[in-house]
């Protein structure tokens, strides 16, 4: 079992915190925009079968999660192997007993988890109105409209996070992300109508 301090060291020596953060935002954005697109599509198409809409959203969420998990794991494993080989060549020594070798095995898994879980969890958050409606919980808006609203909230949140990372104004980061979501919604409306 790897302790948290060890994990921090592994992330530090591979400088993977930045990569994981970038993956979280990029794939989280993918998840949120995909759910937004699906739900705007349901709205424009007057979708009214709750279970079909929920199944479509879950299917897309799981596919995004699996895509993020596998693609990041494959690419990061290859990158870390090359990084370790380069380092061994520079050090003129075998690094099998080092933290660098452990990092080359563990870090791709961590980064893949971030890349896979970000779109999955954000998508599941966005479709909570469908779960609630199915459970008989009364909502102030229809499930599709509520899901669209939550998608905007999630996208705003990711924008705020990016704004904070860049050291800029968090509100501006959130507004920029909302603009992208609004543009996506308008394009779907134009295409569908």
């Amino acid at each position: 079992m790897i302790a948290f301090a060890d994990l921090r060291l592994l992330l530090k020596i591979t400088r993977s915190q930045d990569i994981a953060r970038r993956y979280f935002v990029v794939n989280g954005f993918d998840g949120a925009l995909t759910m937004l697109g699906l739900n705007v599509g349901f709205y424009v198409g007057d979708g009214d079968d709750l279970s079909i809409m929920l199944s479509a959203c879950i299917g897309a969420a799981v596919a995004l999660g699996m895509s993020g998990l596998s693609s990041a794991y494959i690419s990061e494993t290859a990158e870390r192997k090359r990084w370790l080989a380069d380092l061994e060549s520079a050090m003129v020594t075998d690094l099998q007993d080092s933290a660098h070798n452990t990092a080359a095995k563990i870090v791709p898994l961590l980064v893949a988890l971030v890349n896979g879980l970000a779109p999955l969890l954000i998508s599941l958050f966005i479709i909570t109105p469908f779960w609630l409606a199915q459970a008989g919980v009364g909502l102030p808006l229809a499930p599709v409209e509520s899901a669209i609203l939550l998608a905007f909230v999630a996208i705003f949140g990711l924008g705020v996070f990016l704004g904070q990372v860049s050291g800029g104004l968090w509100l501006w980061g959130g507004l920029k992300a909302i603009l992208i979501a609004a543009a996506t919604t308008i394009i779907i409306f134009l295409v569908e109508s």
Binding site: L9, K12, I13, L87, A90, M91, T93, S98, H100
Partner: protein, 94 residues
């Protein structure tokens, strides 16, 4: 019984973990360990260090293990200061 009080080591290490992490990992080997690290040479991916470790009774095996774990390699032991029995408590840090 003799005690090793001071070691001067020539070490090659990757840039990461950095010098602070590296020195801290060595110092954590013992409550009385004192580590002085000097960067002698800097290359694209590696750096050569002169590391002075001082303490009441240094354990080279433990030091060697930390060096390996941190991805570094011990090139040479350049200086050793040892004292005989009965002198373990004195003159540790000069």
């Amino acid at each position: 019984m003799a005690y090793i009080k001071r070691l001067v080591l020539d070490i090659l290490k990757p840039h990461h973990p950095d010098a602070l992490e590296f020195a801290k990992a060595l110092a954590e080997l013992g409550a009385d360990y004192r580590v002085t690290l000097t960067t002698v040479e800097m290359d694209e991916q590696t750096q050569t260090l002169r590391v002075v470790v001082q303490g009441q009774d240094l354990a080279l095996d433990g030091i060697q293990e930390v060096i390996t774990t941190m991805g570094a390699s011990l090139h040479s032991i350049d200086e050793v200061e040892a004292t005989g029995a009965g002198d373990a408590e004195t003159d540790a840090y000069r």
